[in-house]
């Protein structure tokens, strides 16, 4: 038996507060309805009102949280395995068949729950809350002649109340279908759910898998030309498939063998395991030297502080995804990567350490820094050009204000699979885009030609041979005599992330 982190702190606060509010609303509400006498009618009415306002405030906060944290995606209904889930409750559960789905922090709900909770959120709660507000301000409706049928308002409110009550009964009953009858309730209280070893392993890996996708989004930076459209889709695909795929048990193995740096650290901060990709990124050769060393070893004082903050965060039971950190490599050079990590627990339920992976973003960060310097020094700094022309990883381009290529570097040609500069200089940039992508990019280009600098965004390129690739793009205007004559920028290929992505895709097949 293991424990896996499922519920976040706010979620636990919200769930139990809402549970208490709904029960007390029902208790006072049915007294107002005249079903029984308990608090006294006046008290029941006043309590019901105050409870209602508390409920509305909680709903507003929670929806805000849902949208800002991306949790709303967990309510997107999925047909996949819905039938399996229903069949499980009807027959499988009596045959002790395994749960068809698994809970993870990124996929708390099975398809049936998704459907139920979505229904609760978009149908029952709005009906109850709106009819309740109409009830409360019925006098206003009458005075303004909008509506005068309190009975209809009341019937909707009462019907909603019955449905909510039925939901609560079913909901409480279904909490007993976990590993142990009280597992689910314990999980909602502590955030950690007890699972069988096998389930826990899968859940943990699925947590990581999603963290990988999140991390990939982190790499793409904050401003995104296509608003992360491509990766959003990839993410949804992954989420849609989460909890389905038992094959993914091999994910950790694949991660360890991939170009993504994998690590595991015990609760005291010492490395327990790293993979080859990790060693390569840190430019270490001797694995034995790393394993057993402390995570702060060989870091700058600032880096020490930063890494301990992240380690402690994970050890306290949180998950981190796509955090940008600076690393000092064995040879003294400085690199950048994103780190995603999740805690793991031992049999007694104590946090035993953390594991995660890193994805290198050094070229990108360096280009970013050079560009920043160039912009802040008012175009007079040539370091940027030196940097990009010497880089093998960063593709450089300059386009005039009409959209024709003026200059590209060798890295650029490589990424776009062109053989020489002559093939592209003087051509319009639409040549390197599919039609849909061109329309999207055009908007961004207009912005740049108006003087904006667009930081890292993910875009798709159309290569010479007709294949499609992904890269981050940064664009900034080119000035001559204080007039914008075109724009330039750099692109960084997403090969490393693509490997990880392909791994995930493979694991999903």
């Amino acid at each position: 038996m293991k424990r896996v982190l499922i519920y976040k702190k706010y979620e636990r606060f919200w769930h139990w507060t809402q549970a208490a509010l709904i029960l007390l609303l029902a208790l006072t509400g049915f007294e107002v309805h005249g079903t029984y006498h308990l608090f006294g009618y006046q008290n029941a009415v006043l309590f019901h009102r105050n409870l209602a306002w508390a409920f509305i405030i909680l709903i507003v906060f929670t929806q805000f949280w849902n949208f800002t944290s991306g949790e709303w995606k967990q309510y997107i209904p999925s047909k996949k395995l819905l039938k399996a889930q229903i069949e499980y409750y009807i027959t499988g559960i009596f045959r002790h068949a395994p749960h068809p789905t698994r809970k993870t922090v990124y996929n708390k709900f099975n398809p049936l729950q998704r459907l139920t909770y979505l229904g609760l959120r978009v149908l029952i709660l709005p009906v109850v809350v709106l009819s309740g507000l109409f009830y409360l301000y019925f006098d206003y409706l009458i005075n303004h002649g909008y509506f005068h049928n309190l009975d209809i308002i009341a019937y909707f409110h009462v019907a909603g109340a019955f449905l909510l009550l039925a939901f609560i009964i079913g909901h409480i009953y279904l909490t007993t279908t976990g590993l142990h009858p009280l597992s689910a309730i314990k999980a909602m209280l502590t955030g950690w759910e007890e699972m069988s070893d096998e389930d826990a392993e899968i859940a943990l890996q699925e947590n990581m898998k999603v963290a990988l996708v999140e991390s990939r989004k982190g790499i793409s930076g904050k401003g995104s030309i296509e608003k992360d459209h491509v990766f959003e889709k990839a993410f949804e695909e992954v989420v849609g498939n989460l909890g389905i795929d038992t094959e993914s048990a091999k994910l950790r193995e694949r991660l360890i063998n991939s170009n993504v740096g994998y690590f595991r650290i015990n609760k005291d901060g010492y490395y327990e395991e790293v993979n080859d990709a990790w060693l390569k990124l840190y430019k270490c050769t001797n694995r034995d030297k790393v394993i057993g060393s402390h995570v702060t070893y060989d870091r700058t004082p600032e880096g020490k502080k930063q890494i301990m903050k992240l380690v402690n965060k994970v050890l306290s039971g949180e998950m981190i995804t796509g955090e940008r950190v600076e690393r000092v490599c064995k040879d003294g050079t400085i690199g950048y990567h994103t780190v995603s990590a999740t805690p793991y627990k031992d049999k007694d339920g104590n946090i035993a350490g953390l594991e995660g992976f890193i994805i290198d973003i050094t070229p990108q960060v360096e280009a970013e820094k050079a560009l920043e310097k160039k912009i802040s020094s008012h175009q007079k700094n040539n370091d940027f050009y030196k940097f990009v022309s010497s880089s093998d990883d960063i593709g450089y381009f300059r386009i005039d204000k009409d959209g024709f290529y003026q200059e590209v570097n060798d890295a650029w040609l490589k990424l776009y699979k062109y053989d020489s500069k002559d093939e592209i200089i003087g051509k319009h940039y639409s040549l390197s885009r599919t039609k849909d992508d061109f329309i999207k990019l055009e908007k961004s280009v207009k912005k740049v030609l108006n003087g904006e600098t667009i930081p890292f965004g993910i875009t798709r390129r159309y290569c010479k041979d007709g294949s499609v690739g992904y890269h981050t793009i940064t664009m900034t205007p080119v000035y001559e005599n204080n007039k914008i004559v075109g724009f330039e920028g750099f692109i960084v290929d997403k090969t490393d992330t693509k490997i990880a992505e392909e791994e995930i895709k493979k694991s999903q097949v």
Partner: protein, 555 residues
């Protein structure tokens, strides 16, 4: 340990904070609340000593001489008073959708002693004047010396009007009783006191509290439990006079009783002192739009003496075995069935002159929608439907006045009423209510109470009002609506929410056409809901049971 601390921090602490706020925060306090302590009532005293006036020393031989003496100083008051309903027994009033009428005892019949016409000799003992009205015209003799100043302004408590039916050779038609010291009374005049008003208004219908049910002798000397306003005994007794609420100027007294009035005007209302925001609770103040103050604050009436609730004239004129009339005989039993409804804890009296009368103490009001206007079955109005009780003063108003949208000019409110029920004589041929001649002293005067002959009485009475009589007397069920305004209970005894917001026994169960929280529900919806909940409970029980069984099998 850390886990427990986290649970306390994330779940328990927010619970404590949120539910402490929810259960203690009073969001219902009305910021415009007007407390009772801001109400001030002053009782003025007459600024002069009337006993020092020479003109009041002169021995008065007739009451008219006393009035003349009053008017010699108050020389404009006579004309002023003779314009008031207290003198004229009528006033111009508008009946909605009918027009303007002179409404008063002149043309209104009730279901007590029915009407004053042809009975002036008796009825005028409650007229503030001396002498009879001119028969057929009902215009009081236009001599201002016939005004009875003293009946209202006597502060000695020794002035009473004569009841001419109590014996032979008594002064009649509004004259003072034998032996009244007019000089003593005149020298001690002042502002009217409760007993002045009460000498007529407490005893309407022929006895203490018979007519109104909320106006009775007990109010002269009572605690707040009986009437918070008129209480003179016990703690916090405000001892208000009638005019403190029924504000009076130039003998025009505010107040509208809808058994003799019809328009929404000249009313003495609670809000004049208490404002329309008298509660701390906004929720309660919001009720003001649809609920009259009286509805909650007069939970019960006739708290001192019983009031007459049913008067069945059809049983009158029966004699005892010896052929002699029966007077004021208490009948056995305390339940009375009338029109299919059983009235409990009542006193039943029989009198050959009146028929059967049913009295009840501590009566629970009935409730109606009322928008401040009323119709009247005026003298001469045709009866159109004898299958159901004829309502003598139908009160206008319904829930619909308050919606689509609410019209602030004629809001309808739920009011408490005493509904007086009875059977009274009518002419089944002409379809007219009958004005009988009731009071008389001389046998053969056609007065019912002397001759016990309905036809003769009806003929004489109808003649006096100039209406035809077919010679047939039938009896029709009638009802009159007496809005309750007095005997306001202390706040602690007022109706609580659940008295009306109650599924089983709502006081407003007879008022339909609107949805009232706590009272109304859709049985279909509630039953479906209940069945749904039971099905869900059964479903999870069966499911859980099967799981337990299958677990045992596995082991």
């Amino acid at each position: 340990m850390k886990k427990l601390f986290e649970i306390i921090l994330i779940i328990i602490v927010p619970w404590v904070i949120i539910f402490w706020i929810v259960f203690t925060y009073n969001g219902d306090r009305d910021s415009k609340y007007f407390p009772d302590k801001d109400i001030h009532v002053e009782h003025k005293k007459v600024p002069v000593d009337h006993s020092k006036f020479a003109i009041l020393q002169k021995k008065f031989k007739t009451p008219q001489e006393a009035t003349e003496a009053c008017l010699s100083c108050h020389n404009k008051t006579g004309k002023e008073f003779m314009k008031t309903p207290h003198w004229q027994w009528k006033q111009k009033d508008t009946i909605p959708d009918r027009g303007v009428f002179d409404i008063g005892k002149i043309n209104i019949l009730n279901d007590f002693c029915i009407g004053v016409n042809s009975n002036e000799e008796l009825c005028n003992m409650c007229h503030s004047g001396y002498g009879k009205s001119i028969p057929g015209h009902f215009a009081f003799k236009n001599d201002q010396n016939n005004i009875d100043c003293l009946v209202c302004h006597d502060n000695t408590g020794t002035y009473h009007k004569s009841n001419p039916c109590k014996g032979p050779n008594l002064p009649g038609a509004g004259y003072p009783a034998v032996g009244t010291n007019l000089n003593y009374v005149a020298q001690n005049v002042g502002y009217p006191q409760k007993n002045n008003c009460g000498s007529c208004h407490f005893v309407g219908g022929g006895g203490n509290n018979v007519k109104h049910g909320d106006l009775e002798m007990a109010q002269l000397h009572c605690t707040r439990n009986l009437d918070v306003h008129m209480a003179s005994v016990g703690k916090d007794a405000p001892n208000l006079n009638c005019q403190d609420c029924h504000k009076t100027e130039n003998h025009n007294i505010t107040g509208h009783l809808y058994t003799v009035a019809s328009s929404n005007s000249n009313r003495a209302t609670c809000v004049e002192c208490h404002t329309d925001k008298p509660h701390e609770s906004k929720l309660l103040n919001d009720h003001f739009k649809t609920i009259a103050c009286q509805t909650c604050h007069i939970p019960v009436y006739a708290k001192g003496a019983p009031t007459k609730i049913i008067w069945d004239w059809s049983t009158a004129v029966k004699m005892d075995k010896k052929g002699k009339p029966i007077f004021d005989k208490d009948l056995p039993g305390h339940t009375y069935t009338y029109n299919g409804k059983v009235y409990k804890d009542v006193e039943i009296q029989y009198d050959s002159r009146h028929g059967t009368a049913v009295f009840k103490k501590d009566v629970l009001p009935e409730y109606v929608w009322f928008n401040g206007t009323a119709n009247h079955h005026l003298l001469g109005d045709k009866i159109t439907d004898t299958t159901k009780p004829l309502i003598l003063n139908p009160l206008f108003g319904s829930y619909k006045d308050n919606v689509l949208p609410r019209d602030p000019k004629t809001p309808s409110k739920i009011w408490p009423v005493k509904i007086m029920r009875g059977k009274q004589p009518y002419d089944p041929v002409n379809m007219l209510l009958i004005q009988p001649k009731l009071a008389g002293k001389i046998k053969g005067s056609n007065a019912l109470w002397v001759d016990y002959n309905w036809k003769a009485s009806a003929k004489a009475g109808m003649e006096s009002v100039g209406l035809p009589f077919s010679g047939h007397v039938g009896f029709i069920e009638t009802e009159s609506m007496w809005l309750l305004n007095h005997e306001v209970a202390p706040a602690s005894q007022s109706l609580q929410c659940a008295a009306c917001h109650n599924q089983k026994d709502s006081k407003l169960k007879n008022l339909t056409g609107f949805y009232m929280p706590g009272r109304d529900h859709s049985s279909l919806l509630d039953n479906l809901g209940l069945i749904f909940i039971i099905l869900v409970l059964m479903g999870v029980s069966v499911h859980g049971f099967l799981r337990v069984i299958s677990n045992k099998h596995k082991k």
